[in-house]
Subunit: 543 residues, 2 copies
Amino acid sequence: MPSSSDNASQHSLSDSNAIIQALDSGKNKRARKLLARMHPGKIAALLERLDTEQRLRLWQQIGPEVEERTLHHLSPSLRAQLAGDSAEASITASDEPDNSNTSQLEAVRQALTQGKLKRLGKLLHRMHPAKVAGLLEAMPPAERNRAWSMVETERAGKVLTYLHDEIRTALALELDPEDLIAATAQLELDDRVDLIQALPAKLGNQLLHASSTAQRQQLESMLSYPEDSAGGLMNADPIQVRADVQAGAVLRYLRLLERLPPQTDLLMVVDRKGHYQGALRLSELVTAELDQRVSELMHHDIAGIVVTTNSNEVAQLFQDHDLLSAPVVDEHNRLLGRITVDDVIDLIRENSDRALMHMAGLDDEADIFAPVLVSARRRALWLGINLITAFGAAWVIGLFQATLEQLVALAVLMPIVASMGGIAGSQTLTLVIRGLALGQVQKGNIRILLNRELGISILNGILWSVVIALLAVAWFGNWGIGAVLGAAILLNLLCATLSGWGIPLLLHRMGIDPALAGSVILTTVTDVIGFFAFLGLATLLLL
Amino acid sequence: MPSSSDNASQHSLSDSNAIIQALDSGKNKRARKLLARMHPGKIAALLERLDTEQRLRLWQQIGPEVEERTLHHLSPSLRAQLAGDSAEASITASDEPDNSNTSQLEAVRQALTQGKLKRLGKLLHRMHPAKVAGLLEAMPPAERNRAWSMVETERAGKVLTYLHDEIRTALALELDPEDLIAATAQLELDDRVDLIQALPAKLGNQLLHASSTAQRQQLESMLSYPEDSAGGLMNADPIQVRADVQAGAVLRYLRLLERLPPQTDLLMVVDRKGHYQGALRLSELVTAELDQRVSELMHHDIAGIVVTTNSNEVAQLFQDHDLLSAPVVDEHNRLLGRITVDDVIDLIRENSDRALMHMAGLDDEADIFAPVLVSARRRALWLGINLITAFGAAWVIGLFQATLEQLVALAVLMPIVASMGGIAGSQTLTLVIRGLALGQVQKGNIRILLNRELGISILNGILWSVVIALLAVAWFGNWGIGAVLGAAILLNLLCATLSGWGIPLLLHRMGIDPALAGSVILTTVTDVIGFFAFLGLATLLLL
């Protein structure tokens, strides 16, 4: 497909065909690239040749630079028609979506359904890449791909960095490999590493090999660290200075650099062998006297983070010390790179998000508009696991069929026992899961926590079991049923609390995410114990 | 209680009594303050007079500065005893808790229970205030107060800023008002504002009036904005420069300031009337030529955040634009202050934390070691609400008592229907709650989302209702029961999905937190519909 621009004219016919093909398959980026090397006269000729639908689709891909000149070559009737379409595409003040009631999402989807891709391109062009990413995530896949094809290649790389894993990979694969390379060429190395890790190995390798040798070495060393370590968060771009130079010299050096890496608030002080010695705050460098030495100004207490440190610990360090960036060192204290707070923010958000989603058996990185079949399969697993617990509960009830036949009121009341246990248990469970994540719950205080939780559930158990028992007595006029119900609820609340406390601690120790498995196991326990206690006591005492 | 140091000797007896009183009531901070103005000889005399227990408690509060001199005044036997205690309190290398197996929490609690408060004070002194805050949160209230009394007053203010609301207020109230004022004097204004808002009005006012006039004015203006607005996050300390000066002049000006506020990465460019014009990055100032003007260097696209902007929008801005700090302006674009990323991180963490806790009906700012009675009362409410839904479900079952009497297998199987519906519904619910928070779910795509979720639940409904029906047939040998069970589950999954989608959207529009109320309402729906569908169909078809 590549053709040098010298003999482009000989290729114009095949170019035209390639353009039509690209348009038909929704590869608007490729179509625009092909159009960019065609003469406006040729484009006009192609437009004349097409049917109305294809013509309009082609017109949507012609950029503002050549629009005028292409119009010039067209027949008058066609010119009027296409010029009119372009006028419609322009965004007037009243279209500004920020403050109006129609949301940006609606504006974008409207432009898509009406085929006004030129207008869509303009809308997207005015948005920050993060906003574009947000909109893409809020669209179903077919629309998303069409909108994606209208994002300029040079902005596409930045947009990719703001997407959740699943969508990021899918959209990166939508691009031609050469476009993907062009799109990611301007990205910071840590963003490029994330992307390479998310892509299939072959494409990731292509991306890696398209980098300059120096960058490739850095990328390869960054790729060698696990994603959830300090190394995986690290960028290899710290500004390094020596301890024995004066502030004035550092300032002159920075002026020579012309540009500092984004989010630079610290300069790293290293010795001749690259060992990290301390950090110099930019805000203190600018207030220092010019003849002060770096060694007087630098902070020794900004410790280097060892490259293998777990990313959650890194996040905690940033939060506790209000860091904006921090040095990363190897096991010999040699400076490797730095971590910036923007990546830590993403990590913190993802971590809390994950607990919420995992508690419902959902994947936090999945596309919420993934194909129905894909999502259905993912969720089927969770329902299947739950089914086992539900049948477990049913089996317990089945043990007491004879009892139920004699006293059908028990069947009416038994869901109350399971439900109250489930609620009380999930409160303790959530508290412990969150406490483990925040470090509030540790080996040194788990017993105290258990005592407290048991105390709470005894108080609430007594209160509510009495209330429920009285309600049941009022309903069925049977003191025995009330007593059995109350006793079962009290017992189930205690077991629920014990499980809500013990299950996450056990899972945590086994290295299993307590948010993911905790609630299913808890429900099983509260259902089984609730039904067993209620129906068992009834069998013993009421028959 | 205040006594001038001139006539301190006349007050020494009453001082002694005050010290004993302070010690007895756990007010170690006050005891230390009183001790600080006593002569070592007097302290020694007091020590001699006390019984062993009180003497040891007093000794724990004597600082290292006067320890030597006090020992000198003591009788030999007492000297040996107390010197030995001090030697024990020193922290040796093997005590370093960071890398050892005994956690810091255990070390601190051990020191507490053994009454080695001197050692405790040293342990706490070596920790970062954020770590101290974390440890305090991980302790039951009685221990926490004792540990708190050993935190130096000058560090106590910083520790307070890292605590969750409930504990922060409680510990601030533990301090004498004058100590609280001293402790918070060094805090940044935004942290002081947070604290004043958390305190009872009277104490908050005292804190406010203890500030210098200039600070008080700033504090008062900051207090006038709601906590969840840009104004509530704002600090009133931006460095301001004019657009027409040269980079060299700005650098000279900064050198005169000697110290920039923490987390300064931007200088704010304002005109003579204080209107915000743009921002100058420190990292670009240091790389600029000295004769370049600020107007050439500054960024016009770093927009001022209007002071009334909702804090969630502020957080989104920081995340999307990778900001470290941002200017805050009034409605006339006059610069009021700036927001720094450390406060935004706290906000992001709290927000995600809140959703998780609210879904279990818990308060994310509450002390997990609050007195049992307090916690029990809070959770009782949630159990009570749940009880209403549980009785609703029981009432539905009650309608079908006659059916259940004839076919007790229904009672065995009915929890399965409710449970499957609950799981499927809570998946959709969580997805929508999180999508609303992230902006993935908006007016423009809620219908698509519903279609997808319904599609998923139809697929899974068919799959699992067939599986469950076959299992039920195998169990009870009755095709009718299987058919009714399957149909009820399919129906309940569909209703659960519809509710999981609709309830949070409705609550969101009504301004109610969908995480807090959503799951209770959803469970009610899935229970009621599940039981009704199953028993209703059985009554119609099987009897």
